[in-house]
């Protein structure tokens, strides 16, 4: 059941996570039915089966993967709002 009037969340994956999933960006419609529990970043990770095989519910978000919501680090259990950009970041290796 989709609600086209509600903006989707923009999911982004980087580096190894992007290659493992086979995609880097997706628009996902949150469940916006009245009374529905608000989806968190960790929920999305499971729903998108980012750790598991395609089509089945995936594993939990590993502690090594960090979450950013609207380009700022956020707790994995932060509830998402329509229109949010949510990114899953593998361990950082800059500098």
């Amino acid at each position: 059941m989709t609600h086209p009037s509600v903006p989707p969340v923009h999911v982004r994956l980087f580096a190894g996570l992007r290659e493992q999933a086979g995609w880097g960006e997706r628009l996902i419609q949150l469940d916006a039915r009245p009374g529905a529990q608000r989806t968190t970043a960790a929920d999305l990770w499971r729903q998108l089966a980012l750790d598991g095989g395609p089509g089945e519910e995936g594993a939990e978000l590993p502690a090594t993967v960090r979450v950013a919501i609207n380009q700022a680090f956020a707790a994995p259990d932060s509830p998402l709002s329509p229109g949010d950009e949510v990114a899953f970041l593998p361990p950082i290796t800059g500098g």
Binding site: R12, F14, A15, G16, E19, A68, Q71, A72, F73, A87, L89, P90, P91, I92, T93, G94, G95
Partner: protein
């Protein structure tokens, strides 16, 4: 001598993400000129410290490295670098900070990161460079992939201190 207590202005922060090879000393010269142009405040620049990181010629596994590929999160990476630099400058009372970081394909020997700090004493300048370098290695979204023998391998962690 003034009776009003001067408010210390926020330190000027310069963040640069660079897609092409850069010469660290030329960046430093331009940065020094721009700071000098803002006003001859020789006190706040009595101490200046720099760090330059360059790409090693071998992979973590010891193979010859063709190039390091640096992925980042456009928008967030710049914002994070700025925020880390501002926090570090405020923590140490540093006067000015420059962070330059390569993105894309970087070849062995090329500079990958440059951090520079001006402060009124050597302690804050040295400490701020050191801390900011660790901060950005762990909290600015960058991911390295080593290319060797035509194959790319994502780097699992940072090099030891």
């Amino acid at each position: 001598m003034s009776t009003t207590s001067p408010v210390r202005p926020a330190a000027p922060i310069v963040v640069q993400l660079l897609e092409a090879p850069f010469q660290p000393l030329e960046r430093l010269a331009a940065w020094q000129r721009s700071l000098a142009a803002e006003g001859p405040d020789a006190t706040s620049s009595a101490a200046e410290s720099h760090f330059i990181g360059r790409v090693r010629p071998t992979t973590a596994a010891g193979e010859p490295l063709e190039a390091l590929e640096l992925e980042h999160y456009p928008g967030m990476t710049e914002a994070q670098l700025r925020s880390l630099a501002e926090a570090c400058a405020a923590r140490h009372g540093a006067g000015a900070v420059l962070v330059a970081h390569r993105v894309g394909r970087v070849r062995p020997g090329e500079a990958i990161v440059l951090v520079a700090v001006q402060a009124d004493r050597r302690g804050p300048a040295l400490r701020c460079v050191q801390e900011l370098l660790e901060d950005l290695k762990h909290h600015a979204p960058f991911w390295k992939r080593e290319w060797s023998g035509g194959r790319g391998t994502w780097v699992a962690g940072n090099t030891p201190l």
